[in-house]
């Protein structure tokens, strides 16, 4: 088969893999929701309300409060009801905020997506460009400086960074960039260094090819599939770091919502948020996998 014919066949294969991938994501999300619901159901504090600690409540009132949770006692019934509602576009109601979960998510998800997109753009630009500069220039002082900066950033929890941002009155949205930057830098630096030591790259250099040409035509194509896989992973990292960022910097996204739900022991809201973030990260991972596969195919 000629090169073009092979590429077309692979494109068709990639397209036919899409429904399979979508089914896989759906099953994973459903199983993930079930796992989340199981963990929640088996947690020792399930069904215990903070209101029960109110000394003004009588024994009957406490009993009545407990009975409101009784319908969720059976895990399968709890999950079946949840799925049934989900099919009708209803994610249930938040117990603490007294509002439909879908409405809360619709209001707050765009805010988080904006922060995550900006953070990823910043983190990737800074991390990748610094890694390229170090590998291509082979400047030891730049490498040392980059490694020290990344070493310190990797030792700081996202919540501490958020506190420091609040203290410095820095724009909170930049924080996610700082969280993903060290991971991108370290991984891409190692990957690019490894690719630049490959025999065909050394040959290209020996033949007198310029730095930019070696990078674009020989190093990047080798490293691209793994870098694309890293893109999916960083989406998950950014979503995780969104919780402390939004909670401490007072940004009204789903991270802050999850934190409030955790403090208020709002089971329905937490399970829904976990499933939504799982879905987003799975889609991001699958998309980056697919892009990597397509890239590998076109390279072949």
């Amino acid at each position: 088969m000629c090169g073009k014919g092979w590429a077309v066949a692979e494109d068709i294969n990639t397209l036919s893999a899409l429904p399979k991938l979508a089914a896989k994501i759906l099953i994973t999300v459903l199983l993930g929701g079930f796992l989340g619901a199981t963990l929640v159901r088996l947690a020792p504090g399930f069904g215990v309300d903070e209101e029960e600690l109110d000394a003004r409540l009588s024994a009957q009132s406490v009993q009545a409060l407990r009975e409101t949770h009784a319908s969720d006692a059976n895990l399968f019934v709890f999950y079946f009801r949840y799925l049934n509602r989900l099919l009708h576009g209803d994610l249930g109601n938040s117990r603490t905020l007294q509002r439909p979960v879908l409405q809360l998510v619709a209001e707050r998800l765009p805010e988080t997506l904006k922060s995550v997109a900006l953070g990823l753009a910043l983190g990737w630009s800074a991390g990748f460009l610094l890694a390229v500069a170090i590998v291509m220039s082979r400047a030891w002082f730049l490498d040392l400086l980059g490694s020290l900066l990344v070493g310190v950033l990797l030792c700081l929890p996202a919540a501490v960074l958020a506190l420091l941002f609040v203290l410095a009155q820095a724009p909170a949205r930049l924080l996610l960039g700082l969280v993903v930057f060290p991971k991108i830098f370290r991984y891409s630096r190692n990957l690019l260094a490894r690719s630049s030591a490959l025999p065909h790259v050394l040959t290209a250099r020996a033949k007198g090819l310029g730095n930019m040409r070696v990078l674009v035509w020989h190093i990047l194509p080798t490293a691209a599939p793994q870098l694309l896989a890293l893109l999916g992973v960083t989406v998950s990292v950014a979503f995780t770091a969104a919780i402390p960022m939004e909670a401490l910097c007072d940004l009204p996204g789903i991270g802050q919502l999850a934190w409030k739900a955790a403090l208020g022991r709002d089971v329905a809201l937490l399970v829904n948020l976990t499933m939504i973030v799982t879905l987003v990260t799975l889609v991001a991972n699958s998309a980056s996998d697919l892009m990597g596969r397509t890239f590998r195919t076109s390279e072949a």
Binding site: L31, V152, C155, A158, L163, W259, A262, V267
Partner: protein, 268 residues
């Protein structure tokens, strides 16, 4: 970088020894309140001053570091053992067992880590004692943090199961538990060791995140999370620069854990 590794190990040993001797070194209990001296500056009696409740900050740093330095490795050990058990069985058995176990692992990995943690943490009983809350927090980290390591161990166990020495052991009549215990586990030790050391700083960082968010160890028990939470009240204008000492110590401890692993043992 051998000197950096040696320095890191010596530093960790020194900090661990100081924390283990906290009962002797600390001038007061972590919960004792010097009510007449809240927010005191460092002095001979209070080396790092006191917090806003009048508790000696140096004592709290010692006890808090002890909590993290004892329990994060314990949680890492738990997660490494779980990963060894799950990944080892999957990789060694192969076939549908491996596919089934790895599908479960992938499922676990796709759940966002901090979302899952705060969900489980939020549903713990309301009336747990501070000591129990510490144990629960780290046990939860250990129980939920095995999936990434299990994948790596599964891949290693799979390649070992197909190696010549295992084939020879099988041919010599070794099978089942003996094959697993005598031949596979000793060869998985380096990867288990690396996974253990990678997990320790991850768990320390996660506990700190949970603690700062108010979902970690319960007061008055100190931990890195509650100590770093004090930064909320820090202000450069107030001139209380000693409040940053726990943060500096935290960075040094976590970076020392990062330095313990050699370059070859670290993932890409």
């Amino acid at each position: 970088m051998k000197w950096a590794r040696t320095t890191a190990i010596v530093f960790l040993l020194a900090v661990s020894s100081a924390c283990l001797l906290a009962n002797v070194i600390a001038p007061a209990s972590y919960a004792y309140q010097f009510r007449e001296e809240p927010n005191a500056a460092p002095s001979r009696h209070h080396l790092l001053g006191t917090d806003d409740l009048g508790r000696d900050r140096f004592s709290r740093v010692l006890y808090g570091t002890r909590v993290s330095l004892l329990l994060a490795p314990a949680a890492a050990l738990l997660s490494s053992l779980l990963a060894a058990f799950i990944g080892g069985i999957a990789g060694f058995s192969g076939g549908w067992v491996e596919r089934f176990v790895m599908a479960g692992t992938d499922l676990f990995l796709s759940l966002p880590w901090l979302f899952l943690l705060i969900t489980v943490r939020a549903l713990l009983p309301l009336n747990v004692s501070p000591i129990l809350s510490v144990l629960i927090t780290f046990a939860m980290l250990g129980c939920l943090g095995w999936a990434g390591a299990a994948r790596i161990i599964c891949a290693d166990a799979r390649s070992l199961a197909q190696s010549d020495f295992i084939l020879l052991a099988r041919a010599s009549g070794s099978n089942g538990f003996r094959l697993l215990w005598r031949h596979l586990v000793p060869n998985l030790k380096p990867v288990l060791y690396a996974q253990f050391w990678i997990s320790v700083p991850v768990f320390i960082l996660t506990e700190a995140n949970l603690g700062i968010l108010g979902l970690g160890v319960a007061e008055p028990m100190p931990s890195w999370g509650s100590l770093l939470r004090e930064l909320e009240s820090f202000s450069t204008a107030s001139g209380q620069s000693w409040q940053v000492v726990p943060l500096i110590l935290f960075i040094l401890v976590v970076s020392s854990f990062h330095l313990v692993l050699t370059k070859e043992e670290l993932p890409v």
